[in-house]
């Protein structure tokens, strides 16, 4: 802008408005339409992804089960998975997945919820603003790094603690503990969101009756946020079930039907990673088996996710 423009245009006669030709008719805006169509298809990519996942998993699983060596009932009941001798019972893999996930939840639930309560109910603003980034940092570390940690730090520590004869080099305990560490930030942040969403009027009401901070937290805030916390736990469970790198590195590389956490046992994800990491020939029964395992994994995690989402929905309704 220049200051030279000194004539006040406001005083100049404006061109007569009535002379203006007013055209209100819609004119085709081809550009806008094209943009809308393109954007719609951007969104539709996600539908294609889902269709792709379901189609691929079912298609290859079908040909897996069509193989004479495989039977559907044995797949879900047999406790031996040894493709070399034609044994395809998924139970050892499921068993190891459950074991590692269970150990993980044992670690992550108290830790994560403890962190969440501390951060939302106790921590000063300053402490909170230093602790939260650390938790987020933990969440951002690649899982393969946690795998390294499990194998080179936690396992040796466990072996020193319980004896080298009891704890094998690859074992479910180490994998489970580290998966637990890995999902703790998730539980902590999601639960903290749920706790912070509880209206502060509830807290004030409780304090007003002479309750301590802890009593308020445990009797008022946590129950009010409970569904959010449960949803966080379920979604973290789903994450633990689907976690691959830690178990691939630390849990062992052979299917083994055991509940002993000191023993090696391969999980569903670990098995998929190992089998496909080798030189797979397409169309072989090994190749197809990963799709069948993938299908089971997909449904387990899908159910957990839907359950979690459903709980969160209910929770929202309560608050609106």
């Amino acid at each position: 802008m220049t200051d030279q423009v000194t004539v006040s245009s406001a005083t100049q006669p404006r061109r007569a408005i009535s002379a203006k030709i007013v055209q209100l008719q819609r004119r085709p805006r081809i550009g806008e339409t094209i943009i809308q169509v393109v954007l719609f298809f951007c969104g539709f990519v996600s539908i294609f992804t889902t269709i792709g996942i379901v189609y691929v998993l079912f298609q290859e699983s079908l040909s897996f089960f069509a193989d004479p060596e495989v039977s559907l009932s044995e797949f879900f009941t047999k406790t031996v998975w040894q493709p070399q001798i034609g044994e395809f019972g998924i139970l050892p893999l499921v068993n190891a997945t459950l074991l590692t996930s269970f150990i993980a939840m044992l670690v992550a639930l108290p830790l994560g919820i403890g962190m969440a309560i501390y951060l939302s109910e106790y921590a000063s603003l300053r402490l909170r603003s230093t602790l939260k980034p650390i938790i987020e940092l933990l969440a951002g570390i690649p899982t393969v790094v946690y795998g390294y940690f499990a194998l080179t730090f936690v396992t040796p520590a466990l072996r020193d603690l319980f004896g080298r004869d009891t704890v094998s080099i690859y074992n479910n305990l180490s994998a489970g503990l580290v998966v637990g560490i890995l999902i703790t930030p998730m539980i902590a942040t999601l639960s903290e969101d749920a706790l912070s969403a509880v209206p502060s009027s509830l807290r004030q009401a409780s304090f007003g009756l002479g309750a301590t901070r802890w009593e308020t937290a445990i009797h008022i805030v946590v129950p009010a946020a409970l569904s959010g916390i449960i949803a966080a736990a379920i979604i973290a469970m789903s994450r633990a079930v689907g976690e691959t790198m830690v178990v691939a590195l630390a849990a062992g590389a052979s299917p083994n039907f055991t509940w002993n956490p000191f023993q090696p046992a391969e999980t569903m994800t670990g098995h998929i990673a190992r089998i496909s990491g080798g030189d797979l020939s397409y169309g072989s029964i090994d190749y197809r088996s990963i799709f069948a395992i993938g299908l089971v994994l997909f449904f387990v995690t899908l159910i957990l996710n839907i359950a979690s989402r459903q709980i969160v929905r209910r929770f929202r309704e309560v608050y609106e």
Partner: protein, 436 residues
């Protein structure tokens, strides 16, 4: 919550003080417990970093099959003249080996450094007999030395940083001393850029659709066909939204399976580049392009959800102001909504991308190479990435490989930190540029 006594009355007088004090103590105890669990997170982080640094630096004990001093009569190799070096080579090497070397390049024409190299690799042959992590090297030096003296009397103990310039610029090798992450870094960068290039527009596009166009009725409501078409589109938009949430919970390895079946196998002619004429035929669709497409699908839900949040955070009063001035929908989105949402979109996207750069499982499944020495050259190259190298080296039993795995982890974490710092700086820059 307040304990009532058996006669049914509240604490009175002195009792109140005691009661409150007891409850406060109880609460305090819990507070410390909770604090402990929070600090445990910090402890884990410290242990993790300690563990990696401890392994990436340390000491090695090397032992040569022939002592340099015995060859040179106590002098350093560097002090010797070219003729003396050649004399040593001719004296120590078998004639067949010598002949091969002469055929490659006559010894007399070789540089001094080259000759020294030859003596080191062909005659001295230093070999690692033991490696030690940093903490033992620093604090248990004498114990280590005693042990070494007993087992390998000729061995030499020296400090070793596995993370070094050479480690970053060397290609993959089966010798842990020579192996580097150059190929993997380049692979990761290729994958990263390509994934951003595909996922960014797709994700933001989908987010814009879901936030701004979902309720739009593109077809004429007065005709029954148009009405039905509109209903269909509305339904699709709802479906897309729930679907995205469910996809965000699908384990990454499933995306690997999808990528393997679709991008690597079904679309092999495209992803291997054979449809576009000559390319690296050995890749068989296990290319950077396949990997980037798989990664795109993997991070898309996160990109969409965080972009949606950023778009939603733009005050609707700004949109209204723009519409009030006669702006079209797209003009409003492009000029008002996107610039205001961009800091948030970028932060979310970069976080998603840094997840992609650390992802390993899907790339194992789609068949990233674990051993290649050639740099990736384009979309249709075979590739490896840092996490794959880390996985590969960690899963080997030799300690040397564990050590270079730790070094590779440090490289990976550095890239991640850089990426996140960039995100924060970029966000702050964009925020400050948007006056106000």
């Amino acid at each position: 919550m307040i304990p009532s006594s058996s006669t049914g009355r509240l604490p009175q007088g002195r009792e109140v003080n005691a009661n409150v004090a007891r409850r406060q103590r109880y609460g305090k105890a819990w507070e410390y417990l909770l604090l402990t669990s929070t600090l445990l997170g910090l402890v884990v982080l410290v242990l993790l970093i300690f563990n990696i640094v401890n392994d990436a630096f340390g000491a090695i004990a090397t032992q040569s099959s022939v002592e340099v001093e015995s060859l040179t009569g106590g002098r350093d190799l560097e002090e010797l003249s070219q003729a003396e070096l050649i004399a040593i080579l001719e004296a120590e090497l078998r004639s067949r080996v010598l002949r091969n070397l002469e055929r490659e390049q006559p010894l007399v024409e070789r540089e001094q450094a080259n000759l020294i190299d030859l003596i080191n690799t062909e005659i001295v042959k230093p070999e690692i007999v033991a490696i030690y992590p940093l903490n033992r090297f620093l604090f248990e030096r004498s114990a280590i030395e005693a042990q070494l003296a007993a087992e390998f009397p000729r061995a030499e103990l020296s400090f070793k940083s596995w993370l070094s310039g050479n480690f970053i610029t060397n290609p993959m090798s089966s010798d842990p001393l020579k192996a580097g992450v150059r190929t993997a870094i380049l692979g990761s960068l290729w994958l990263l850029s390509l994934t951003i290039l595909i996922a960014f527009p797709l994700g933001i596009g989908a987010a814009i659709y879901l936030e701004e166009y979902k309720n739009e009725k593109p077809f004429d409501e007065r005709s029954s066909l148009g009405k039905r078409a509109n209903a269909l589109i509305t339904r699709a938009a709802g479906l897309i939204e729930t679907n995205i949430y469910n996809l965000s919970g699908v384990p990454s390895i499933i995306y690997g399976i999808l990528g393997l079946a679709i991008f690597v196998r079904a679309l092999e002619t495209i992803t291997s580049g054979s449809i576009f004429g000559g390319s690296d035929t050995t890749a068989n669709g296990r290319t950077i392009l396949s990997a980037a497409l798989t990664m795109t699908l993997l991070i898309l839900p996160v990109v969409i959800i965080s972009s949606q949040e950023a778009i939603r955070a733009v005050p609707s009063s700004l949109r209204q102001a723009s519409y009030g001035l006669g702006a079209t929908k797209w003009q409003t989105i492009w000029n008002i909504v996107l610039p205001n949402a961009m800091p948030g979109i970028l932060t979310g996207t970069i976080l998603a991308v840094s997840r992609a750069i650390g992802e390993t499982a899907p790339l194992i499944v789609i068949g990233a190479s674990t051993f290649i020495v050639t740099d990736p050259e384009g979309l249709f190259s075979k590739f490896t990435v840092l996490p794959i190298q880390i996985y590969n080296w960690t899963s080997r039993p030799q300690e040397e490989f564990r050590a270079i795995a730790a070094a590779a982890i440090m490289v990976l974490l550095t890239i991640l930190v850089t990426l996140n710092a960039t995100a924060i700086i970029l966000r702050n820059y964009l925020r400050s540029k948007r006056v106000g």
